[in-house]
Amino acid sequence: MADAPDPAAANGPSAPGGPSRTAAGGPSLLLLGIDFHTVPIELRERVALGQEEAEKTLVHLLARSAIAEAMLLSTCNRTEVLLQPRDEEEAYRAALQLVFLARAPEIERPGLLYVKRDHGAARHLLGVACGLESMVLGEPEILGQVKQAAALAEAVGAAGPVLRQLQRSALVAGRRARQETAIAAGAVSLGYAVIELARNIFRDLDDCRVLLIGAGEISRAVARNLAERGARQLTVANRSPERARQFQELFPTAAALPFAERLAAIRDADMVIASTGADEPVLTRRQLAEAMGARPSRALLVVDLGVPRNVDPEAGRIENVFLHSLDSLDHLIQRNLKRRKEEMPRVHEILDQEVAHFYGWYRGMQAEPLIASLQKQAERIRRQELAEALHHFPAASHAHLDRLTRSLVRKILHHPSNRLRGRGGPEHLPRLDLVRELFRLDDADGSAAAAAAGEIAAASADESPEATAYPEDRAGSAAAEPNAKPEAE
């Protein structure tokens, strides 16, 4: 039995009725998840949620009074639920049961489920959006999946102000990581490595004529990648006409040729992808040299994906022929992966900035009722003093005085309000209770304004609960469970 929260370690749940916040001044967040690091694919498949299931699960989660906001991210490599709990212990139990145990009771085994809280949970979601937690570092699809998860939470009504802002921060971090760093640069799969090579030779993939020798699985996968990137002129040459026909069903615009005509087709091709099961080369140096001699002086990219090799390695010596085998593609992929890893510190910097931005936003939200009280009090004093002073001045100047005093009050309160919202450095935020005391804001006006400021305002009035400690959160638990992922914090 693992992953159950330890009530004895908890210093008391949050006040019921509103979302909780942490002692550090951030919102209380709870993330439970499994991914490819902790769980084999068979289990991940069972836990993975389709769109409809995810929708239903979110509705069930929200029906629990312990959960204020929820979001579900389910892909082939991970299933994670992110909550803003009112009662952390109850929220944890509900999410564990509804999302994980109901589908795979084995998840209870130690080390399979990871739990992150508060700052760790926020940072984890941003890291996921940046592709730092992906199986292929920096892969781009995850950002779209986070976006979909955010849209689903929004559609179901499971996203409140906190998760909505956190999702926004995650999407911004994901976009920035891809724009400002090379975390997603360079191909890291076979198909995209072929595309990367082509892009280093030809101006535009749209105009490239691609000859595929062999119509097997690898050939189809590469053709799919090429078609996705704009290559439209595909021709397949295969020994078996039946396989070629199957290929054409998948790629209706592709032309099919008898295998014997492949050499003639090379004269018009820009790219040749060879992936047959032949034991002997299907393209010799002499054949390629003849084909190159019969065509205008254009580059030819030849990618040999066959084992044993389909193209005579000596053919790479021919002028303007760029011959690449599985080995050189792997070399390229490893080089790109290394470059992506080198970008990780820069992505972490972006994460730090966006997490800080999120916390700044949250603290600012907490300050809104106080700012409203402050402004209301200042306005009351202004009106009072103005009313007493106006009879000393001619009536014609009353409007001017009104504008003047309004402007004075606005300018005096501008900087304190900005500081209270956390602009200009959330790390130096003034203590809200001190401000309240300094300006005597705990009177009837202040309370009324605070009451009107809604859910977040109520949260700000709560006492800060100390964090509930779960077994896998505690220092040393990672050592006890070697499979457990360490906290991102």
Binding site: A182, G316, H331
Partner: protein
């Protein structure tokens, strides 16, 4: 006026340096903002440079190539103009760092060698001479730009052939684009040099009717012109591939350097004005 011209000696290299840094961000970091800013900034600095050269011509009332400093500044200007044209034609900004860095180097040298006085020489008042020198400089600048693209082309060609993937790989435009930019620069250089040879012949025939054909620099220039002409014809006839054209471009630049340096050092002729 002189204060303005003197301050240009500081402003111009500084401006080219800033533009080179912007292009450096494009090449090394693929910075989107630098990508947007670099080309307009270069055009603005070229206009400033043009204003400086016109200012020099107006102030000294002669073609602004009468000193080493002025000649080098003219070379920097010509390289910048040719690069801006090739960049505009190829719609490709990732190679600018190398060329603008070269421009900065020439302009810095020009600024360091700048002297307050310029000798008044009759030959620099001749408009045909001015056209001849301008076309020759433009031609040589274009050939230098072509050689830079030839070098980059050969680097990428070698990387792609060997599957080695050096620092250049992934940062340069595709081979086809590099070849196209090299060819555009070669054609621009060939046209300019042809114009320079024609105007030079016309001008020399007028001033030195008997012996101008024996001048070693003219001989080297004609050889250079022939090398580039042959390379362009063979490329046009598709007898040569990109790699051979790139090698010919580098060989052409070597001939130019020979004609500029070695001929001046080891041969004597009328064709020396500085």
């Amino acid at each position: 006026m002189q204060i303005l011209l003197r301050s240009a000696n500081i402003v111009l290299p500084l401006a080219y340096l800033l533009v080179a840094v912007a292009y450096g961000f494009v090449f090394f970091a693929a910075e989107a903002r630098a990508q947007r800013a670099a080309a307009p900034a270069l055009r603005a600095v070229i206009l400033l440079h043009l204003a400086y050269l016109l200012g020099l011509a107006a102030h000294w009332r002669q073609f602004p190539a009468a000193t080493e400093s002025q000649a080098l500044s003219l070379v920097a200007f010509a390289v910048a103009v040719v690069y801006a044209f090739v960049e505009w034609h190829g719609r490709e900004r990732s190679t600018g760092f190398w060329l603008v860095a070269l421009v900065f180097f020439f302009q810095l040298l020009a600024s360091v060698l700048a002297r307050p006085e310029t000798p008044d020489r009759a030959i620099f008042h001749d408009p045909i001479f001015a056209v001849h020198v301008s076309l020759a400089l433009l031609g040589y600048a274009a050939f230098a730009v072509a050689a830079a693209y030839a070098f980059l082309f050969l680097q990428l060609y070698r990387d792609l052939k060997a599957g080695r993937f050096s620092t250049f790989y992934g940062r340069l435009p595709p081979l086809a684009v590099l070849e196209r930019m090299m060819l555009v620069a070669l054609i621009a250089g060939f046209v300019s040099l042809t114009g320079a040879v024609v105007t030079g012949a016309f001008w020399a025939q007028r001033l030195y009717p008997s012996d101008w054909l024996h001048d070693p620099k003219i001989l080297a220039t004609v050889i250079t012109w022939a090398i580039y002409g042959l390379a362009l014809v063979l490329r046009r006839l598709r007898r040569w591939q990109g790699r051979q054209t790139a090698l010919a471009s580098l060989a052409g630049l070597a001939t130019i350097l020979f004609s500029l340096v070695a001929v001046n050092l080891f041969f004597s002729g009328f064709h020396a004005f500085l």
